[in-house]
Amino acid sequence: MFRFFRDGLYRDYIILILVTIIVGAAVSSGVAWAVDAYFGDTIQEMIGDNGEYDLILHIREASEEAAYRELERIAQQQYPGAVISKTISLAGQVNYLFGFPQEAKTVETFSRLPSIFNAVPGLNAYTVIVEPSVLVRGVHPSVSEVLQQRFNEIDGVSFAFNDGKNMLIVLESAEHSKTVMNEARRIIKEYQVLEIRFPMGFDVDVQTTGNEVMQLLSQEYPGTRLANVSSAEYGEELDALMKTLVEMRHFLLSYASKVKIKLEPQSRLVVGEQILVQGVSEQVPVTGQDAAPDHVMIEILEITGDQAQGMIVSGSVAANGGILTQPGYKYMSENKVGQLVGEVQIENERYRLNYAINESLRLLRELDDLSVEAATAVERADKVLTTFQEALMQLEVLQVQMQQLNKGLAENGVQSTSEQLIISLFLNGLLKNIAKSGSEAAAEFDLGELENLDVASMRSSLSNLAEQIGSIQEIDVQAIIDQITDIRDSLPELDDEEIGKSVHLVDNYIAGQVIPGERIQILVENGSIDEEKVEPLIRDQLQNQYLNIYSIAVGTVNPDTRTEVFRILKEVRATIAGILSIVLVGVFLMLDHATIFSTLKWFRANQKQPKHRLARFLNPIVIFGAVVGMTILVTTYSLSNASIPYVSMPMVAVIGTGLGVMIGMFSEKFSPVRADEIMAGLALGLSNAQIMHEIVIPDGRPGLLNLLNRTKQKF
């Protein structure tokens, strides 16, 4: 093969390769540079000169004029010297640039941005582009104040302020950018938020559990400062539907039968496994036999120590009511009953609720009856009291008469009649008896005492009672009864199996979603905690194998928007250069080198040349193509400062080799040789170089090779 190149052709070919590389690199970096410059200008147009503007205000197109008027008012009245400029409009949104006057660029101004601009009509949002600055994204609220203070103390920092979840560090000048960024990174590294996420459905007291975790951590990492910065809220990312679903799941579970399992010591259950109990089936489960279709299946939800909780997923215990206690067995594959796992207690919540409602209904009805009875009783008591009072009065009269009678007896000498004596005795006895029933203490009956009875207050309390009973009677007990009956009847007619299925459905739906359950956040200072190391410890401590621990940075440091945009632009430039070099090298290989490969192949097939044994399997022209492709692409790629994300230099070499192999293999497709013309050239005594210059290349595709050949070509 190399014989072909002997008469000066190798020099031509080397020149071609060099020119290919130079042109390829020049074109790719040139185009990339042009794109870069174009976008650079556009960005300049978009966000103004360095430090000129501080904000981009995004305003609804419809409110543009009103918004502009308000901005002008702010500029004239509140911040004289402020600059406003309209920049590009996008998707129904106009964007205004706003720059505060130099003396107003203070922490006070930037800290109250929302209130400064809250009257701007149609303001959707704003982006802070203060320059020069360093942006710290996602600042954890628990450290935001501390960080602000510490950032303020860094050399070269004017001030730092909060912008939503971000914090902007405004610099005295741009050259501090690097050092401030490094310093800010260093400060942020001193803090760490350890987040403990519980799976959905776990109710955790973030305060007490948090303290428990902190205690454990301070034992493991003495010297670190820890603070519980949990917010009991669900993550903001949890949308309304998710919340509803989670609530629904809660509701369903609380409504389902409570299944408690007291585990046998050797039973190795895990959450999610199923067990079965007899339920209301006729068939007693026996280890090793088939499970009956009406056995009750229970899925394990939670295990703590020797206690487990579960949920009925199929079968029913409804008819049984109240509490059911039965032995539970593992449910094995192929519908077999497994080992005994423990004693299962099923409390049917719906039965209990029903029972409670029915009881209250009964009570209500009784209360109604009772109030009627009570009213009658009070009435009667009142009558008794009146009668009693009347009787008392007559007794008084009687007593007076008797005393007079006694007097008369005494005054009228000894000869008293027997009748008088009998009457006197009788009266005494009677009065004594009355007094005994009223007051045991009264040794001797005295009618005066009897009169002392506070009949009036008795009467008033009686009338109070009557009033109360009256108001009870006034309550529309029947309405309450109706309401409660309604509630009872409207309770969903779900059985445990349906609840289980619904819970599964909800679980499946939310399984794919990122839903933090309850979470605890611990702020760690002066030290770093390896979340992977502490995870098992905390799991053991809280006896929950399903919680996860994440370490969260309290912020990430980014350069300011402009720097960031230009950095991205640089990346884009390098990517464009990379893609272009690959495309250009491919094109050059196809236009120029394919011609040479085809000719080489023709000569190889038509001329007597010693063929290497290896060459029969590995076509040397394909290998040659691979080497050429790789060399050209790698050099072009490097020279044009190209860099495609995730494409390393060895990969570029592989791509070059691939292109070379492909063009080598299918060179005739890209550039077929005119065999008859080459044959004529040979017969006419032309050299290989002459055949190339006068026949092959001029016949080939227009390209670099063709261009370079112009100087050599005689015809």
């Binding site: 013309e677 004529a680 032309l686 050299s687 005689k714 015809f715």
Partner: protein, 242 residues
């Protein structure tokens, strides 16, 4: 002048030329005939090494052609005119350029090359067609350009590989006339492969009959068709008779 000894050429399992011995004297016109695929083209191409033989030797005035290095081989080829069945003209060059470009590339000054090219074109009756593009010529004219191109380098040996085989019957005549004229007026040594029996009878000093890569019969035209010994010869005899 030309001595071929034990020449062999094989394509895979297919033996194209199978031990051919052949002598051609200076000024002699040798016509090679034989059925299609018998190895005529392979043989004639081996003479200027457009095809590399596997074995045997080819000597020109005692000098082995097979042992020539690249440069000498090219020098040798410049003294041999080769006329192709498919003309093999350079499509992008004009008629004149087609006839002179190899002279220029061989170092002949352009003016001189042009004069020689024009003379050659005149000999094949194509004066005035110099600036035409070959694609605009008839097949017969194209082949005459091919002949002129071969003549322009004043060859000592002319090799013709079925020059009329790809022409319309009505165009064959004009090419054969040119060929006959050339053979009669020059004493260039010629080896002609052709199927044109009548033409062979007129111009051949000697006829070689080939079959399956081997020479099966040779002799003067009269002798060979009067009393053919080989099967191929007998077939040609029947052809002439009919």
């Amino acid at each position: 002048m030309l001595k071929i000894r034990g020449l062999r050429k094989q394509y895979g399992k297919q033996i194209a030329v199978d031990g051919v011995d052949l002598d051609v004297d200076r000024g002699e016109t040798v016509v090679i005939m034989g059925p299609s695929g018998c190895g005529k083209s392979t043989l004639i191409r081996c003479i200027n090494r457009l095809t590399e033989p596997d074995a045997g030797d080819i000597l020109l005035d005692g000098q082995s052609i097979l042992s020539l290095d690249d440069q000498s081989l090219r020098a040798f080829r410049r003294t041999v005119g080769f006329v192709f069945q498919q003309f093999n003209l350079i499509a992008r060059l004009s008629v004149l350029d087609n006839v002179m470009f190899h002279l220029v590339l061989a170092g002949v000054p352009r003016v001189q090359a042009e004069t020689r090219a024009k003379q050659a074109l005149a000999r094949v009756g194509l004066s005035g067609a110099e600036n035409k593009n070959p694609a605009n010529l008839s097949g017969g004219e194209q082949q005459r350009v091919g002949i002129a191109r071969a003549l322009a380098s004043n060859p000592q040996l002319m090799l013709w590989d079925e020059p009329t085989a790809s022409l319309d019957p009505i165009l064959i005549g004009e090419v054969l006339d040119v060929m006959e004229e050339l053979v009669r007026t020059t004493n260039t040594t010629s080896v002609i492969v052709t199927h044109e029996v009548g033409f062979a009878l007129k111009v051949a000093d000697r006829i070689i009959l080939m079959d399956k890569g081997k020479i099966v019969e040779e002799g003067s035209p009269r002798a060979i068709f009067a009393d053919p010994q080989s099967d191929v010869g007998k077939k040609y005899q029947r052809l002439i008779a009919s």
